[in-house]
Each structure stands twice: as structure tokens, then as C-alpha cells.
Subunit: 325 residues, 2 copies
């Protein structure tokens, strides 16, 4: 037997499909209690299930927001997703997640197109650095989109994130306040987030009349961290700001292997503050981002509700930063 439709229900209950549609769609007041009961009963008997595709077509819109993510942010994506899902639910929207691989541009592009073709209410892009083509595609669609955990330096493009410049500034100042003067920054790339953090770091150093070290670039990964420890040591720093928890973890692993004691020989300040910080030995002191808030605010924003541009960060003291006196 084929999947039952409202037509089948209508036939079996002797009413028109319009009436069935009304009952199933809860158009209160437009049907009698008697027909309602009858229709619901028959629908259940038949194992009826609404065809959302047909509904979306006629309504010309979905009550679904699309979230595009990539592999990189493994650690924090759960919190972002939680925030998004929760808030979307409150606002009566479903969420479908589209996976863009490991910063794979083809997949990323494909994901955007998929979202566009499905007439979603809005598109959220988590930790995605779009290329020009993607951005044009997005702008030309009539669908609102919002970047999550990424800020373009302009309010022309909707986005919700931590204030990366401020975040890095605070991290640097925190280290300086504890007596560090030679501080490295490791693991960031040259895109928006990376260059904002670089600016914050450099500004803080300058404000304290300290020389900024050459930024050690990387892709926010564990491997990048491992690879960069030597460079940090070579810079003669007593402290390093890691671009992410994963970079911090990599730095730490390499430090263990090379006999560099943390924090006695080298202090590490991580950025993100996910559970990774608790797992390592020593636990990692971090600039902690509020990913849940970032997620839920971005839903507000993409749906046109009042929302914050920046979500506040805070330092979480653990055991990877030493006081130099």
C-alpha cells in the first residue's frame, strides 16, 4: 500500500480534503468537534503522516533554519548547536544542519546552495569563512543569513560572536598582569577571526610598551599546536596565547615531550574554554567563550529579533599560567 494522504482520509470519512486539512492544521473554530474526532481517528488508523514537502511548497516557506557547520570546531560546536536548537524551538523553528567538511570549499558552497533551494527561514553559518562567491550567493538570495562565531568588522553582514579583539586584548593583559613581558600568539590564521585576535594582542602589548612577537600562524588544530611549540621556545617567550583549546593542547603535548614545564617554564593561555581545558594536565587557563549564548543570539538575529552582536567572554583560571615575580 502507498503512503496515505489527506485524500484517503477524506474519502474514508466522507468529508472534503479541505475539512481534513483544517482539522489536521488545527484551524480552530472551522470544524465541529464531531468531525474532528472522526478525522483524527481515521488518520491514526491509516497511519497518516503529513507531507511537509507539500506543505512547504504551498506555503512557500519552511519554518526551518539551516545551520552550516564545518569539522574544525568539533569541541565547541555542541554548545553552539544546543543554543541554536533551543532558541529555534522556542520560536517555532526546526533546525537542519548541513555539514561543510573540513573547510572544504566545494562542500561549503554546496551546503549553501542546498539551504537556498529549500526555502528555509534563515541560514546560520558557524565558524565558516566564506569566499567571495559564497557571500555573493548569500547576498543575492532573499534569505536572511547570519554568521556565528565570526565577525566581519561591519554590521552590514549579520553576525554574532565574541569580540575577538577584546578577547585577545584581555588574554594578553592577563598575562602581563602576572609579570609576563615576552608573550607569543600561536595558531591563528589570517582571516577575520585571526586578524582580529592578532590586533587585540598587538594593541595590548603596545599599550604596555612591550614588543609584540611575530605571530605564529596555524589552523587552530592540535597538530598546529604541536608543531608550533618549538617556535614559541625560539621566541624566548615565557607565555603563549593559544588560538584555541586544541592548539593549547598540542602545545602542551609538545612541551611534555620536550621537557618544557608548564607553567614553570612556559605559561599557556587558551582560547575557547571547552571541556578540553579540564582534561589536560595541567588544566588550561582560558579565555572562555559563551558558545551557547552565541548560538541562541544568532537565532534571534537571523529571525529579525533583537540580538547582541557580541557575547561576553571571561577568563577561567586553571593551572597553566604562572605568576612571574
Amino acid at each position: 500500500m502507498t503512503k496515505p494522504t489527506i485524500k484517503d482520509i477524506a474519502a474514508k470519512s466522507g468529508v472534503s480534503i479541505a475539512t481534513v486539512s483544517r482539522v489536521l492544521g488545527n484551524k480552530t473554530g472551522s470544524y465541529s468537534e464531531k468531525t474532528r474526532t472522526k478525522i483524527l481517528k481515521i488518520a491514526k488508523e491509516l497511519g497518516y503522516r503529513k507531507n511537509s514537502v507539500a506543505v512547504d511548497l504551498v506555503k512557500k516557506h519552511s519554518d526551518v533554519i539551516a545551520l552550516i557547520i564545518n569539522a574544525t570546531p568539533t569541541n565547541f560546536s555542541t554548545q553552539i548547536i544546543d543554543g541554536i536548537q533551543q532558541r529555534a524551538d522556542e520560536l517555532g523553528q526546526g533546525v537542519i544542519i548541513l555539514y561543510a567538511g573540513n573547510r572544504d570549499h566545494a562542500l561549503q558552497h554546496q551546503a549553501i546552495i542546498t539551504a537556498l533551494e529549500r526555502s528555509v527561514t534563515g541560514i546560520l553559518l558557524a565558524a565558516i569563512e566564506p569566499d567571495e562567491e559564497d557571500l555573493t550567493l548569500l547576498k543575492e538570495s532573499r534569505i536572511p543569513f547570519c554568521f556565528v562565531s565570526l565577525y566581519f568588522g561591519t554590521t552590514a553582514i549579520l553576525a554574532v560572536s565574541s569580540d575577538n579583539r577584546e578577547l585577545a586584548y584581555q588574554a594578553t593583559q592577563y598575562l602581563i598582569d602576572r609579570g609576563h613581558t615576552r608573550i607569543s600568539l600561536a595558531g591563528i590564521d589570517g582571516y577575520h577571526t585571526g586578524s582580529q585576535r592578532q590586533a587585540g594582542y598587538q594593541d595590548a602589548m603596545a599599550a604596555n610598551r612591550l614588543p609584540a612577537a611575530t605571530v605564529l600562524s596555524g589552523n587552530y588544530s592540535y597538530e598546529a599546536g604541536k608543531k608550533l611549540l618549538q617556535a614559541v621556545v625560539d621566541q624566548g617567550s615565557t607565555a603563549v596565547i593559544a588560538a584555541s583549546d586544541m592548539v593549547a593542547a598540542g602545545l602542551l603535548t609538545a612541551a611534555h615531550q620536550q621537557g618544557v614545564r608548564v607553567p614553570a617554564d612556559l605559561s599557556i593561555m587558551s582560547i575557547d574554554g571547552t571541556i578540553i581545558c579540564q582534561i589536560t594536565t595541567p588544566a588550561l587557563t582560558s579565555m572562555t567563550q559563551d558558545f551557547y549564548q552565541i548560538g541562541s543570539q544568532s537565532v534571534n538575529k537571523v529571525l529579525g529579533q533583537p540580538a547582541a552582536d557580541f557575547v561576553s567572554v571571561s577568563v577561567t583560571e586553571r593551572d597553566s599560567v604562572a605568576r612571574l615575580d
Copy 2:
């Protein structure tokens, strides 16, 4: 201006919508090169984008598979998703991910319904323990579904996973081969995966004429691990098998805090083998699962292609297990 449709293209190019549809759908041989060029040009000018919702409605099916995940498997989900995405792509299927929260039954149920209503090609459920209602729902739909990283002990329900009994057996035997006789098992629950692992552990102990300890149950999380260390110590064990990398990490943190040396005082054998194992100090020896394979095989299976039921595991030696001599 409203979103352009094939009707607009047809009007502007002086052909019928049928022809436009043929060109856009690549129905080779059913149109002349000349019209093709013209239509493509106009489509581009208009910024035309196909309405997949309409296509799905008329074709009555989606070329999309739905993947339902929950928050728990944060660490390994990326690999599973990679495997799924990759294989689905090869088979011409898109993937949409539906998030079921943290083992949130309402959300889980909702996710299944969403998938069902969108006439997807197949449904994949990653590390989801369904309740009776969910299972009935799934069975009554005509949509193929497959559990990922979960095995029911029967081939009646499609599933791809590691052989959990065998995995736990090997973990136990590995420890026994290194001289351990008092071994704990910590962090599993009583559902399918948990009880299969428990059986493997108990069988291995019995086969070696060793007494199995009472299983220390938990929910596979970092917190569970932290909480269970004391119990492991109380059991007087020299080794513990952790239900997951996160449990192992929790055990390790608590061990550090309580002055229990790993592996000198206590050996830890983890299950999963994700990057978490490399991050901790000492690095965690693990039973490593091939999550990528689990993902890609599950796509094969749900699409009716030949596929494995079980994907092989292997032990990855790191630094958390001591040899007792």
C-alpha cells in the same frame, strides 16, 4: 521582485516551461544546443535557483538521507559524519543532520518525525538508543533506517557498529596479557552497547578463570569518569576499562587529584581512540574504533548496498597501561 521560476525563464526565452525543465534537468537529447544556451543564459541573468521543494514533491522522493545525532558522542561524531557525508556524496545523496539534544527523548522523537515527513531516502541514527515508540514509528514508515554505532543483537534491524562484545573482550584480554587480574569496567550503561561490552568483559574474565568485578555504571561522560575513580580504587583493581575516551579522561583527572599514579598504580584502557587519547597525560591506550568506516558502511546499508555489520577495532598502545611482572 519575487524569486524567479522556470515560468519566468520560459516567458523570457519564448519556449515552454517543459523545455526549460528539460534543459535545467539535463535531459540530454531532448533539446537543441541552441535553446540550451539561450535558456542557461537567461536563467543565469535572472539569478534562477531551482526550488528543490517542488522537485521533491513531484518526484516523491528526496535524494537526501537524514542523520540523527545526539550531543553525547561529540568526540567521534565528526569522523562518523565525515564517513557518511563522503559515501553519500559518492552515491549522489545529500545529507541533512538532525540534532536530538542530549539523549532528549522528545527531541529525538521530533527528529524522527521530521525525517519521516520529508520523504528522505533513508534515516541514519547515530549512537541513538530508541525507545519502543520510536522504533515502531520507524518500522511502520516505508523509509529504510539504519542504526550507526549501535547493535541490537539481531540483523532484523539494520545497524553498523563495532562488535562491542569482541571489543570489550579484547580490551580485557589485553590487560590480562600484561599481568592484570583485578580489572574494573567503568562508565557504561545498561542499554545495548553497554550490556554487550559488559558481556565481553565478563566472558574474557571467565575464560581466564578470573573473577569479574561489579560493573561501575555511568553515562559515558567525563563527569561519570571523575566520579567513578574512587569506586575503581575501592574495588582494588590494578586496571580499569573505561567506557569511552571521556570516561577515561575523567578517571585520569580524578586520579591526578587523588594522587593515584597512572599507570604505576592504575592502568587505564580507554574505548574509542579519538584525539582525546593523545591530549591527556599520560596518553591513553585505547581500543580504537574505525568511526569513518562505520559511517560510510552505514550509508551503504541504508541504501541497500552490500555493507558490513561490524567494523573492526584495534588496540592503540599509548602510555596508560603498565605491565605487571
